[in-house]
């Protein structure tokens, strides 16, 4: 598992995690070769479920930690400042096939991973002393990287899907501080909402 995380995940990051919205990429054609560098673990789905459960269990705490660190009036205006109004968030259909759900999960996690990277970067500058928030963000990002690797491994090994189109959220580096705070809060609110659905779907 560590080997996978060390091999596949950085590659994915290099390929996908560049700031700015990416153009959708087509799913790998069926006849394309799909090979992973290392063999996938036998109980991948179990690991995926566990990782989803782990993310789901910590999402609310991360959300609270985040909006508390942003100062007033964030904690008292969650509906307006932290509402899950993320327009370009990848869809997820809980009643789809496993393959479809895995593909959608991959997109969701890729989107969230990139956004979490932006949030982590912004918060290290904005709240350099909020160490618990940094730690929670890093932990969540680590779990997401592992989940992404596992999902891709599952897609590749079972469904021979080697590549999935992904989209990313807006880059916040050029935005003002308030926009960074607000977008981060909205994203984490959306993440908390979505991860509960996703964890339930698997």
């Amino acid at each position: 598992m560590k080997v996978l995380a060390a091999g596949v995940v950085p590659l994915l990051l290099v390929l996908h995690w560049k700031h700015g919205a990416g153009s959708p990429l087509p799913i790998t054609p069926v006849n394309a070769t799909c090979a992973t560098r290392h063999p996938c673990h036998s109980n991948l789905m179990s690991q995926i479920r566990n990782q989803l459960a782990q993310l789901n269990s910590s999402a609310n705490a991360l959300f609270i930690l985040y909006y508390t660190a942003q100062g007033e009036p964030f904690p008292n205006n969650l509906d307006k400042l932290c509402g899950p109004n993320v327009t370009d968030f990848p869809p997820f259909h809980a009643n789809g096939t496993e393959k479809a759900k895995l593909v959608e999960l991959y997109r969701v996690i890729a989107y969230l991973g990139a956004s979490l990277g932006n949030i982590t970067r912004d918060q290290k500058l904005l709240n350099p002393n909020a160490l618990s928030l940094h730690s929670k963000l890093n932990t969540t990002a680590d779990v997401m990287r592992g989940l992404l690797s596992n999902v891709l491994c599952r897609l590749c090994s079972k469904y021979h899907v080697a590549h999935v189109d992904v989209t990313y959220g807006p880059d916040t580096s050029g935005k003002d501080v308030f926009q960074k705070k607000k977008l981060g809060c909205q994203l984490l609110g959306k993440y908390k909402q979505v991860i509960a659905v996703v964890a339930q779907a698997f």
Partner: protein
């Protein structure tokens, strides 16, 4: 013309001034009249050119204009002549002319109009003072805005080339805001002209973000040329230029991410296409200020310091929210305690305290730059390296080769300001070396070692001062400072001498520069054992003869570590005399004594200690003691843990003194320990952990002379005296009726625990189990104490005791340490037989004598006795009761009933008739008799009356009629009478039943012992009523005859009853004892009563 000009065409300035200065009505009136006249004159003058005006905008050319005369039309020509040196004239067809500036002074100007109807001429006096300087209208070249800083930048040309140099120009700039062009700022800006055209810049920071509303800028100028003496006027306002921001479709809040000083005022605005509902900063709502369109603003005053993530400002819009973040903080404080030092002369570490927190973090945090002035190098502070002091920051600066003096300036900067601090250091004087590492110790010999260590740094140009800490076990640490030349390779080594052989040392080292600044931290400790050397001294030796006197036991003490100089492996003991030398085999170390069989010859014993290096010098001691005939045993008591022994110095003692001691209760040879002191000593304090309080020790002081020892003093002593733990065992040797002889034994030394100082002997009366001596020391008076301080005394006779008495004896010993326990004994003294005999014989003799005398008297007076005690009974019928008393005591002025002889009792004849008193069969004369105490224990002493005879009586306790007032019980005593008498009743009852009608016979007396006055009064009443009465008034019976019984009432008033007459009568009237009558108390006289107070006994 000049006058005219002044009158006719005063400038507006002049008018204005005049108008402003006129306040007096008269002045106004006169002015009005004058103006009217002038107008009239002018109207006359309108026939000619008039109202000449000249202005200039560059001081080089004057622009003069005038008004045409009436009737002048197109085609009218004017001749404009200037009467100066050249007298120049200009012909022109217009009413203005531009002429070169005229020189100072008045110039005559002639204007002649040439027209068809003729010509007319006007003359004017023109002076520069009448010229107005009106600069050209300035033009704003450029108006730009920096929206991030809300700053407007204005750029314009001063057109200075047309003016002389050094002219001052005042620019007035106005800032207008919003579409309604509200003036928000009017400022003046001064410049000076350089003679050339110059472009000027002016910036203005708006309190309202420029995005919030359109801003307009206009300007005008005023040239203040010192060379021009005429009127100077403002130019016209330039056309305004505006700055506006094109809003996005989404609402935005400005300023964005602004950093402001804590306490400042700031305005936020929201540029929105939709209506803004509310605005708040943090949790505080702010009132909205409406700008153009839907734009609104809020003003925040005295903003407080922000959190790390800034202070949020939020504008609530319908279905949306927009906001910004402001960071309120402080400019950087001046770096405090800036200090620069080096650890290794390669790198300089500058540290400082940043002072007051700015409240700004992240990209807004304070940045520091350390600049070195001589070399021009600088470094920037990148991250906070928290030093040991916590909040200190530090920077590392690489040293410049061959530079020792450094001039550092530390610049601090953040978005709100900057500060700096400087320090000039000679870095060779600021050396704080690293902690020495690789610290090692190496032997040179038994007293010297080599220390080596590594001290990183380039110290070749300086000397190092190092401090070595040398510590021995159980010893004070020693610090040695050494100065060594610094080296480049960081390795150092030094030799340390003056150490002790075979000693464990702990070394550690620290260093500084010779020009001391700071010590480095101590290196790690290094423990090292120096090598061995031969023992420096022989062992301390002593000898004792065995108890049988045949063997000599040699003792020696193990050498102290500083004298052993190594591990002692064995000892060699030898004895030598003049003839031979005897050597024992090697004795291994743990053994510190040896026994040699010697004769009584004098031998010299020598003991040598050996370690791995060699043998010690021998210790010698003679086997025989030098005799001393004059030896006394002394006593001494120690103090605390030791005992001080003193002696007089003996010049004969050339070696030393030895004090030997042992426990006195141990068997010989007596040796516990010994101690040698120099021969010049006269005292020594002997201390030992083996000493115990309460234990007797023997101390022997020996003097040394030619290796032979002589016993000088023998001392017994205690380190501390305690109280004896046992009581002396004592016995009673002899007992007599008045003395006891007690004898006791010595207490063993072990149990005495101190020097015996005496005995305390206590004794008191007391019997076993009933008397215990308690609180012997409390000074009880019934305890007698004898303090026996003569400890040789072993017996004690206690005299003056009472015979046949039990005594409690207690004996206890005491020392200076306290009282020992007590031992007690009960002894009964013997009976005093002589006294008993006397006590028996004397009463017997007295009784016999009295009996004889009585018998003789009775015999000789028998007739009288018969007459007295057996008289004829008189007939009561012949007795006149009412005259009874009178007849009895007739002829006597006072009652004499208490006197036996003069008062002869009446003869009473008892009748058998019961007519009046059926139950009375005989006359009763009741006389109270002496109270016969029935129990001495229950009676008061004064109530005890010894009587010679107690007739049978009935004692009945009745309540006291007077109740509590009498304070006790009354006792009525009825003499036992025959059964024919009426039942005995209480007097009160009788009184109560029939106090007045009690006719007939009554007992003559039924007297309460404690009669009260009321009782007596009642009896008086009875006397008046009827019946038989006592022969005498009992109240008068207070006189006491020696034999009469008496009783004492509660008030100790003596009340006596009866009389000898009554007693006598009773003796003979009392019939034989009735069966029903109460039993007598039986008070017969017995011999024992002679000795005892108890009649019943």
């Amino acid at each position: 013309m000049d006058i005219y000009l002044r009158w006719k065409r005063p400038s507006r300035l002049v008018d204005n001034k005049r108008m402003r200065t006129t306040s007096d009505f008269q002045w106004l009136l006169s002015t009005f009249v004058l103006l009217y006249l002038m107008n009239h004159v002018t109207s006359q003058r309108k026939e000619t050119p008039y109202d000449l005006k000249c202005t200039t905008n560059n001081l080089k050319m004057w622009d003069c204009s005038w008004k045409a005369p009436s009737g002048a039309g197109h085609g009218t020509l004017y001749e404009f002549c200037i009467d100066n040196r050249s007298h120049s004239c200009y012909q022109l067809a217009r009413t203005n002319i531009e002429i070169p500036a005229l020189s100072h002074g008045d110039h005559e100007i002639t204007i002649r109009s040439l027209q068809d109807a003729g010509s007319s001429t006007s003359e004017f006096i023109l002076n520069e003072k009448n010229i107005s300087l009106i600069p050209d209208t300035p033009e704003i070249l450029n108006l730009s805005a920096d929206f991030s800083t809300s700053t407007l930048h204005v750029k314009w040309n001063d057109k200075g080339s047309v003016f002389p140099r050094h002219s001052n120009v005042i620019w007035e700039i106005k800032i207008l805001r919003k579409k309604s062009m509200e003036l928000v700022k009017l400022v003046t800006h001064n410049t000076s002209l350089s003679g050339k055209d110059a472009v000027h810049h002016w910036s203005w920071v708006s309190d309202l973000p420029l995005e919030c509303a359109a801003h307009y800028v206009g300007m005008r100028c005023y040239v203040d040329s010192p060379l021009f003496s005429g009127h100077k006027e403002w130019s016209d306002w330039s056309p305004v230029k505006n700055i506006s921001w094109t809003p996005d479709s989404q609402a935005k809040v400005f300023p964005q991410d602004k950093v402001v000083l804590v306490g400042s005022d700031i305005t936020f605005c929201c540029v929105s296409q939709e209506k803004v509902l509310s605005a708040q900063i943090g949790r505080t709502y702010c009132p909205l200020i409406h700008l153009d369109g839907e734009n609104v603003a809020i003003e925040v005053h005295d903003i407080s310091v922000s959190d790390n993530s800034g202070t949020n400002v939020v504008f609530m819009i319908e279905d949306n929210v927009s906001g910004t973040v402001v960071f309120a903080g402080y400019p950087p404080d001046i770096p405090q305690n800036l200090n620069c030092e080096t650890h290794d002369l390669k790198e300089i570490i500058c540290s400082w305290n940043p002072g007051r927190p700015t409240g700004l973090v992240g990209p807004r945090n304070t940045s520091y730059t350390l600049f070195e002035g001589f070399s021009g190098k600088y470094i920037r502070f990148k991250r906070v390296e928290v030093s040991a002091n916590g909040s200190y920051h530090q920077l590392l600066f690489q040293m410049v080769p061959n530079q020792e003096i450094y001039n550092f300036t530390l610049y601090a900067r953040n978005p709100l300001g900057r500060s700096e601090a400087t320090i000039l250091v000679n870095i060779t004087e600021k050396v704080y070396p690293h902690t020495p590492t690789s610290f090692k110790v190496k032997d040179i010999n038994s007293t010297a070692v080599i220390l080596s260590w590594h001290l990183p740094g380039s110290f070749a140009k300086i000397n190092l001062l190092c401090q070595i800490e040398i510590k021995k076990i159980n010893s004070v640490q020693e610090l040695r400072n050494i100065t060594i030349k610094g080296v480049e390779n960081s390795s150092y080594r030094i030799a340390v001498g003056k150490l002790n052989p075979y000693t464990v040392y702990t070394f550690r080292i620290r260093c500084s520069a010779e020009t001391f600044w700071k010590w480095s931290k101590w290196s790690n400790k290094k423990q090292h054992l120096t090598t061995e050397a031969i023992p420096s001294k022989g062992p301390d030796t002593w000898r004792e003869w065995s108890s049988d006197g045949k063997n000599l036991i040699i003792y020696w003490k193990p050498l102290p570590i500083n004298e052993a100089n190594g591990k002692i492996l064995s000892y060699n003991v030898s004895c030598s005399s003049d003839e031979e030398t005897q050597s024992l085999s090697e004795i291994p170390d743990p053994q510190h004594k040896a026994e040699i069989q010697l004769d009584k010859n004098d031998y010299i014993i020598s003991v040598v200690a050996k370690n791995s290096v060699g043998a010690s010098p021998p210790s010698k001691i003679a086997s025989m003691e030098i005799p001393n005939d004059d030896l006394k045993t002394e006593q001494a008591v120690g103090m605390g843990k030791g005992i001080l022994l003193t002696w007089h110095q003996d010049p004969n003692m050339t070696c030393d003194y030895v004090i030997k001691w042992c426990n006195s209760s141990r068997s010989a040879p007596c040796l516990m320990d010994w101690r040698k002191v120099p021969s010049n000593s006269t005292e020594v304090l002997i201390e030992s952990d083996q000493f115990r309080p309460g234990v007797r020790y023997n101390f022997f002081l020996y003097g040394c002379r030619n290796q032979g020892y002589q016993l000088l003093r023998s001392i017994i002593g205690y380190i501390e005296e305690l109280a004896p733990i046992v009581a002396p065992n004592f016995t009673v040797e002899d007992t007599s009726a008045d003395s006891i002889l007690v004898k006791w034994e010595d207490i063993p030394v072990e149990e005495l625990r101190g020097f015996l100082r005496g005995y305390l002997f206590y004794f008191e009366k007391g019997e076993r189990d009933t008397s215990k001596i308690r609180g012997l020391e409390s000074g009880r008076s019934d305890i007698k104490v004898k303090n026996i301080t003569d400890i040789s005394q072993k017996t004690l006779r206690i005299a003056d005791l009472q015979g046949k008495t039990s005594y409690h004896l207690v004996l206890r010993a005491y020392t200076d340490g306290g009282m020992g326990p007590e031992k007690s004994m009960f002894v009964v003294t013997k009976e005093n037989s002589v006294g008993l005999i006397i006590a028996i014989l004397i009463p017997v003799a007295v009784a016999v004598i009295v009996g004889l005398v009585t018998s003789i008297l009775c015999y000789r007076k028998r007739e009288w006795i018969k007459e007295t005690f057996y008289p004829d009974i008189p007939n009561p019928e012949n007795c006149k009761a009412l005259q009874f008393q009178k007849s009895v005591c007739e002829g006597s002025s006072a009652l004499k009933t208490l006197e036996m002889n003069p008062c002869t009792p009446n003869s009473v004849e008892v009748l058998e008739t019961r007519s009046t008193f059926p139950k009375i069969e005989d006359t009763e004369i009741i006389s109270p008799v002496a109270e016969c105490p029935e129990d001495s224990s229950g009676a008061e002493p004064e109530n005890h009356v010894v009587v010679s005879y107690c007739p049978p009586i009935i004692e009945e306790e009745i309540p006291n009629p007077a109740g509590d007032e009498a304070g006790g019980t009354s006792q009525v005593i009825y003499i036992d009478v025959q059964s024919m008498y009426q039942p005995q009743v209480k007097p009160e009852e009788e009184h109560g039943k029939d106090p007045a009608g009690g006719a007939g016979y009554k007992p003559q007396m039924h007297l309460p012992i404690n009669s009260t006055v009321e009782d007596i009064a009642a009896e008086d009443d009875l006397d008046k009523t009827a019946g038989y009465r006592p022969q005498a008034n009992v109240n008068t019976w207070n006189l006491v005859s020696p034999d009469s019984p008496r009783s004492t009432d509660s008030n100790s008033e003596i009340v006596s009853f009866g009389s000898p007459c009554s007693i006598n009568s009773r003796q003979f009237l009392i019939p034989p004892k009735d069966e029903d009558s109460p039993q007598s108390n039986g008070g017969g006289w017995s011999f024992t009563n002679f000795f005892q107070n108890k009649p019943n006994d």
